[in-house]
Symmetry: none
Subunit: 413 residues, 2 copies
């Protein structure tokens, strides 16, 4: 069974947005043992949509489209599908009521454009969209193929895939078995990790495949087995990870779904401890990593974004002399920020960052990318200096994660 993915929208074709949907879909299709044969990106053109779907159905059993389902005139996927399947557009009552409810909740008038969101080709199976207005649609072709249309908004597409598409595909097709397990690591670059675990990797049994999946905030190590008996494969993979653990040591953060911050959250909750953050160069991004997780208020009390020296001094109590003498990006300032926010917020732990995010502002002594970070706790304060290079967004992301990782290592001690 193979899948073709078609992303529809002029905005992708002219390069105004980068298509991240199809990578997400590929990963999740791969997880259930489906193989993606091809991806297409095409424009908002009825002719192109028809042609691409027809071509895909000639080679693959399943075609999934994203995009072109919105309420405005340039969104034409639904109309094209209705024509292709010779099926009239009819109102789906469940969708109609849901859109009406959403509009009322948002205080938006339930106008003709919104009402049209509830129109679907009569022959399709409606896949309810609990995160937005445009429903997903599932079409069975006379030849035994399947065409699935999803909205292009990433979190709507993701919810529809997880709630409807992936389970329905599993029901419908005999998928080859595939078993994955992924370990999350932090602190070593891909090439150094490869060197560290080379003896283990070289001794892996032939049927297990290792993939390195790097991102700015973690390096994931995935072991996969294909076309195997599932419980045996799980055992074989678990056995290999057991062998890997002594090599990984503290670089091991957790398993798929864990992040450095989720592990710190679990540790703090288990210990009944609390945290506050003092951020200069990360400017709110470190706090946002905790507050993005539901339930953060149980351990995360808040913090101070001390972007200016005045705020560092007046709100956090960083010594004005030290700010003058050592500069804002320095070990004494990082330490006093962590200690200050711990005191001001009355928490068990205080974590801080102060650095030069770039792209400008560096000096010969403190080049762009220099970040001092500190963790203050009941048993004292530790500080660390790192440099992640010249790119602002990457520096902010990596400094925030590295500071949280410092706290993780401290909590594990």
């Amino acid at each position: 069974m193979t899948v073709d993915i078609i992303t529809i929208g002029d905005e992708i074709l002219i390069g105004q947005i980068v298509d991240t949907n199809s990578a997400w879909m590929s990963r999740h299709l791969g997880d259930i043992g489906a193989t993606v044969r091809r991806k297409y990106s095409i424009g908002d053109s009825a002719e192109e949509i028809r042609a691409a779907i027809a071509e895909s159905l000639a080679a693959s059993n399943v075609v999934i489209t994203t995009g072109g389902l919105g309420p405005t005139k340039d969104d034409i996927t639904k109309r094209v599908l209705a024509e292709m399947f010779g099926s009239p557009l009819v109102r789906d009552e469940a969708t109609y009521e849901r859109v009406e409810r959403i509009m009322a909740l948002r205080g938006i008038e339930f106008n003709e454009l919104n009402k049209a969101q509830a129109l679907v080709p009569a022959c399709c199976r409606v896949l309810p969209n609990h995160k937005g207005t445009a429903p997903g649609m599932w079409f069975d072709t006379p030849e035994g193929g399947v065409v699935i249309c999803l909205p292009g908004v990433p979190f709507e597409m993701e919810a529809l895939m997880e709630e409807s598409v992936l389970p329905l595909l599993r029901e419908r097709f005999e998928l080859r078995s595939v078993v994955h397990r992924t370990a999350i690591t932090f602190g070593l670059a891909e090439s150094m990790m490869a060197q560290l675990i080379a003896p283990w990797e070289d001794a892996l049994p032939e049927e297990l495949h290792l993939a390195y999946l790097p991102s700015p905030s973690q390096l994931r190590l995935r072991l996969s087995a294909y076309d195997v008996e599932e419980s045996e494969a799980r055992k074989a993979i678990d056995r290999q990870f057991e062998l890997l653990m002594p090599l990984l040591g503290d670089y091991f953060v957790g398993w798929e779904g864990d992040t450095v911050q989720s592990v710190v959250a679990d540790l703090l909750l288990a210990r009944g401890e609390s945290l506050a953050a003092a951020e200069s160069c990360t400017g709110g991004a470190l706090s946002a990593k905790f507050t993005a997780m539901s339930g953060a208020s149980a351990y995360f009390m808040g913090g101070v974004v001390s972007y200016s020296n005045e705020v560092k001094n007046q709100v956090l109590g960083v010594s004005a002399d030290d700010l003058n003498k050592y500069g804002a990006v320095s070990e004494p300032v990082a330490r006093q920020m962590a200690e200050g926010v711990r005191r001001v917020c009355g928490t068990t732990w205080g974590v801080s960052t102060t650095g030069i995010a770039g792209p400008t502002g560096g000096t010969p002594d403190k080049p762009v990318g220099t970040v001092w970070m500190a963790v203050a706790g009941p048993d004292g304060t530790e500080a660390l200096c790192l440099n992640h290079g010249r790119l602002r967004a990457q520096n902010i992301e990596r400094a925030a994660t590295a500071a949280i990782n410092m706290l993780r290592l401290r909590l594990l001690k």
Copy 2:
């Protein structure tokens, strides 16, 4: 003249990496008036590469492939092209010498794999790669089409496009002119915007095309003209946007590249004013929007992430009585947070958010999604209550942007 882009590589097809190359290529092709008809992503399979190139050439004059040119076994593009054009692989002396030089520079042995990088089909025009080892290749088909093969490494592909491909395409084809302009709006959902500007949209001249490009933090309106004399088209588009402006009013934020926060930053800088943020439900995300922009320290002094009531009271001076009486998510608390952070940080403006991000924590009075926000300034404090629904990540993103937009409207007064 139309172009098809084919990205080659299993890592894209299984979703291990997101394809950013094709968006970059599309933008730059669009800038010279070339239209991208379709993008394909296919795997490292000789059969798929042959099929995709043949399909593309049947519909487009130009096919550009990226990827599959490296020295390892799974990189097969060059071999497939040599077979397709019935042309033997021969050594390109200039490439051979360049690769030899690069290897010496990097201290890497100049082995058979590296020497093979200098082999190219005899019939192609070699496009020199000054940033890496694999050269680009330009093939003319007997039917007048063009196949261009580029490496998949982004900065190598970009340099080859700018130095060779774009200039050569301009020489070879009579390209149509294309003009885009995009207005950024905030505050109206797509369907309501469509209704608001319907009279204007219906009266658009036929040669101008409107697209709605929504995202959680803005709605972009793009006007495009194709096959037109460029300066005339620019004038026509500008004229239409002039007509649109009175309808958009304050919903208009700026032009492509602007965001609500970049416009606020420009306004603050122009006025020599400063800002601090007091965040509860947005938990750092609002501050992070400013500090993500280089140069933020000129106007953004920092702020307080007052996630707990204690921090609201002790750091920002929010009345403990009011916290008890009205609750943390209330107008008096939002006002006192904005006023408190303005006072504590000594800034011209203070902005605040306090709400229930979800998915839990709602009450009948204050359902999930309820957010109070306030702006405190020299001429007093304003507050506003919004509800963006049940999804945590969306609530945080939208509340942060809406609060910044409140400040934008205040600065525009």
